[in-house]
Symmetry: C2
Subunit: 344 residues, 2 copies
């Protein structure tokens, strides 16, 4: 490729009747006389010479890149989203740029500022925390943005979200049908958008089904991670005796499974466990994990499609899409009667 | 940001004494008279105005992006690599562009061609299959490349690889120490670099420890995925009765765990299971999975550091780094005597 580039410059130089160094200077924006600039640009135009992607971007205003910003690239729900987005953007001839920003809104504001300098044609943002500063940065962005996750109703941005409150209701309804009553919640931080939504959905469902809502049945992990989930579940088992545990995501639920296992409790016989997000981790767990499918792949796909539409037609009407949840029932919550082989 | 851009254009327009539309046309490479072009460029230069990243890239030759190409973004070993690379490149002020290319070398050649048009400053490539065409494309690249994985010795590229043959030897030595003799291998495709290395390491270790190397103990999954691992393990159990299974990665090993479980075999009492890569999946499994740590995070970190060094100093001497493996022993291979609580 180095050879190709050199000979292109040489061709332009020969046509313009100037040195290769002069061509390079003009095309790279260095100082050059008006006459030299004119001759080089004419020669380059006649030869259809585009030095590289940067020049093409400058001409077309396109970077052919779409950015996806997630909190934690190690969370299987984001892996699922990445897979779905990769397929959609590749079909539309974009490359995907993935950034793992953590849960700090400032990191996402910094990313937005950086991308606005012209590094991407659009951004898919899945923030854990929505602050006024982040909203201001999103509103000021000249880069099209689609938010995956809940947004305040007055923010006029394309948006795809899960209905996790309804989703947790499905989990609790299922557990009640299995005869469970003391249904605990292992939540992630409640100052995050998903943490707050899951708590609200849990409290609503507990009330609806007339279940005990004692505070001992609710614990909060420091993060939506496996390790934090182990600690939170240990706390839960010290303070109460649940007959079911809902994890606010699959990692927290697998952590609950493992902690119950370590404490000698049988799953699902003694304690049923249900996760949320229905990721690969749910199928790989032993026993396999019942999980609320919040449509992560579907959300990511819809968001990527909205973003491509927005890039192609900046004046499109703002759309807000809500993906309906469903429940994938597996071994971790099936009672005796429902086991195909009747084994305990 | 829309505001900032607009006012910059307006400043240039005011200084040049022309309309904002004219400034935009000239700076974006649209058609404009020589006189107009000169006035706008002079005004922009005097104000130090750089329209965006593309112009800056054209000037500096930098994109501030490093690309990472992996076979499957859903494999936890690549997630571990991404995490490690993200940290290193962020410290050096680069953004990470992640591409999931699948196992087809042509997809990686296409990516390389595309990146060579000026979309990244360097590439970390972790290919499953090394073909002569891919080697030619890597040699012809003007973009610096560091390969994560084995390379033929005559390819002069920076390279970081695991010693997976030694790694699988550690696994088999450990299993022999636990009294296992009929040690099976659930491998991935043997026409891939990791598949071939694991098979060679397995055959070597089996010979070294005087174990039976009957073909019935060796099965090959269609891919390094959980689903393919379930099928391959089902085949294995139909044709033989191993007392231990080594999975060529953690997903294959977790699949073996689950398939053994479904067949009513107790792990580790009846059959011990060991994985490779020591990913999160090993700790999350029940029982937790003994796994060969092939230093994926360390490999990715070393490769990212080599790449940044190569970008900064293209004349650096080519380096080849081999990361030494170790074994993380967990529940899936511990015999009675070694269990801390003596439980069966």
């Amino acid at each position: 490729m180095a050879e190709t580039k050199k000979s292109n410059l040489a061709l332009v130089a020969a046509r313009a009747g100037v040195s290769v160094a002069s061509v390079s200077r003009v095309l790279n924006g260095g100082s050059a006389s008006e006459e030299l600039t004119r001759r080089v640009r004419e020669a380059a135009d006649e030869l259809g010479y585009v030095p590289d992607a940067s020049a093409r971007t400058l001409r077309t205003g396109r970077t052919d890149q779409i950015a996806l910003a997630v909190a934690d690239v190690g969370n299987p729900v984001y892996v699922q989203m990445m897979r779905a987005v990769t397929r959609i953007v590749a079909k539309a001839d974009y490359r995907l740029v993935v950034s793992s920003t953590g849960s700090d809104p400032q990191a996402q504001i910094d990313l937005l500022t950086s991308l606005n300098r012209g590094y991407a044609d659009g951004l898919l943002l899945s923030p854990l925390r929505i602050t006024p500063d982040l909203i201001d940065a999103m509103r000021a962005s000249r880069l099209p943005i689609v938010v995956i996750g809940s947004l305040p109703p007055d923010v006029e941005l394309d948006n795809v979200r899960a209905d996790s409150a309804t989703g947790i209701g499905l989990a609790i309804e299922h557990l009640v049908e299995q005869g469970r009553r003391r249904i605990a919640l292992v939540n992630g931080p409640v100052d995050t958008v998903p943490g707050a939504a899951r708590l609200a959905g849990y409290l609503d469902a507990v009330k609806r089904f007339g279940l005990p809502d004692s505070p001992e049945l609710q614990v909060t992990a420091d993060a939506f991670t496996y390790r934090a989930g182990r600690e939170a579940t240990a706390d839960l088992l010290r303070q109460s005796s649940p007959d079911a545990v809902v994890g606010a995501n699959d990692l927290l639920a697998v952590a609950a499974l493992k902690e119950l296992n370590a404490a000698g409790a049988r799953v699902p016989d003694d304690v049923a466990v249900v996760g949320m997000d229905d990721t690969d981790a749910a199928e790989l767990a032993t026993p396999s994990l019942t999980s609320v499918d919040l449509g992560s792949a579907e959300r990511a796909k819809a968001a990527a499609e909205l973003l491509i539409r927005r890039i192609r037609n900046p004046e499109s009407k703002v759309r807000r899409i809500v993906i309906t949840p469903s429940l994938s029932v597996r071994e971790s919550s099936r009672t005796e009667a429902q086991k195909p082989d009747g084994a305990s």
